[in-house]
Amino acid sequence: MSYLRVSDLEHAYGTHRVLEDVSFSIDEGERLCLLGPSGCGKTTTLQVLAGFVKPNKGSVEVKGERLEGMPPEKRNIGIMFQNYALFPHMSVFENVAFGLRMRGVEKEEIRKRVMEALQLVRLPHAAAKRPVQLSGGEQQRIAFARAVVIRPNLLLLDEPFSNLDARLRLEMRTELLDLLRNLSIATVMVTHDQEEAMAIADRIAVMHRGRIEQVGTPSQIYSHPASLFVGRFIGESNVFDASLRTGGGELIASVEGLGEFSVPHNPAVKGNAAQLMVRPEHITLSSVAPAAEEGRNSAYGTVEQHMFLGHRSEWIIRSGPHRITVWQSGKPEGDLRPGDDVTLSWPKENTLIVPAERAHA
């Protein structure tokens, strides 16, 4: 049985529906990330879990116990807020001790556990300081210590890195992942940053317009997006309108002005209209047409632009009405210049088809 089970959540603010049929579950010690753009309902879902928002419909169960009607203070859920929400009129020690005091833990025990928590986040010397005296990264670590010191059943992280600058963000990501692995608390994290989600989460639930579009491990989501939205939200993609047919026992997608490609099946695609996606890093460029290879798709085009970006090169290839982005980590075969003809090829399994939507939805 799953540790946390969220079933059929529905919620609306006035006439604006923010959650529709949101269901997911996580196992003990698992980290799930709700990923999506702002306004997709991920924060509302977190508020429902915390007990700050009462959903119109649906249920939340932790360890088989239903949380409906239970006030936030009874849920034993640790929350790390986006702005950390450290109490400004209390010292770091008092901040971390707050949850234990509320639980009536004995004084000596509070002292012991607070200092343990502060050592866990490597800030025992900050105990007497006020939150304003700490840097952003330190505040985040204290917020984490405060959330886990109560030994919560569930940990909620709300956009944990959004208030940090770019350098610190990478550092804290590694640090937080270490802490989460050591503690192995069931965690639900909310973010709009796909990289953060992929780094921290065991599984990702991609949300869009109040619905969960796909749940899966980071690599499943990346390699097999269930919808155009998921494919575009996670990583870069070249997207083409395609029509499907079966030929010689294989599924063939034809894209006007580009060619015909053999593609793997996707049960989500119904009918014969679909969209075809190829990620820029899966495409190989070469100046000489390679021999048709089993299991590879190819297309032809002209080099339009080349940008050297250090760890990779970005190429823009024009093929009929299409512009295709290609990333190469090494130097492509031959010497390619703008205006040169070029062959693009990519593996069949990296050719993705998703249900047709308006291309720029």
């Binding site: 915390a50 007990g51 700050f52 006030p71 936030p72 203070e73 849920r75 034993n76 859920i77 640790g78 929350i79 807020f81 986006q82 702005n83 929400a85 450290l86 109490f87 400004p88 009129h89 010292s91 770091v92 020690f93 008092e94 707050f98 949850g99 509320m102 639980r103 002292r111 607070v114 200092m115 050592q119 025992p124 010397h125 105990a127 007497a128 405060r146 109560i150």
Partner: protein, 305 residues
Amino acid sequence: MHNRISARGWLLLLLPSLAVLGLLYVGPVINLVRISFAHHDPQVGVVANYHLTNYLELIRDDFYLEVLWRTIRLSVLTTLFSALLGYPIAVYITRATGWRQTLMFIILLMPLVTSVTVMSYGWLILLGRNGILNTIFLWLSLIDRPQQLMYNETAIVVGLVHVLVVFMVISIAASLQSIDQSWVRAARSLGASSSIAFRTITLPLSLPGLRTGALLVFVLSMSAYATPTLLGGTRYKFLSYLVYQQAISLYNWPRGAAMAVLLLIATTALMALASAYGQFRTIRSRARLGSIAAEPSTRIVRSAA
């Protein structure tokens, strides 16, 4: 960006307000203090012959001391009731939106923009012998004959709270508005019920506003003239009325000035006392906090050694 203003620039910017303050405030106050030591001659008026007689007479005057004590006592009560009444209103105003908030502000500001004459009629209608309250109480048989509801100390406090509570509400509301709701939510998630979260988070963080409000209400009520004169009648006078009487009716400026200076001293002393007490408490709580945090960390150092 280069937009720093030099010290001289600042001085230049401050000059107009400094001039106005000096001309209309500091100068007259110094003059007031000077006159308070001067001699009063019924024929000439102020005579530049300085002595302490005005003050000594006042300190020995039981009537004056009684009025001073009443002024302080009723001002403290006014401040207290304004805080008790104003806090819930401030909470309501910070949570209310749109027309409810506007309406509440209009109700609160009404007494400030109403003329004293209109207000006095209002109180008469409400509290007079044949007023609304007496009529209602008679009709309900709570009393058997009309009671005197005006011209006593209770009426003064009720009137002052009515006029001054808005200052309390505005400063508490400003303080409450700066309290991040995520702090309250954090407290809730850590196990605090909504009432405990209020006591541990909202209330302590709104104390600066409460302090400012108390200061404003206290000072304004110590120097109030119209409301206490109107509602206290002939028996229950406030100090500002005595000052007025001395200076305007009896032309005894030195005595009036001495009263005003004593009022100023009393007000300042009480405020200083309150703020010193506040500071003492913060220092004490900081010290206590420091000891909590210091002990375990020294222990760690010891165990590490």
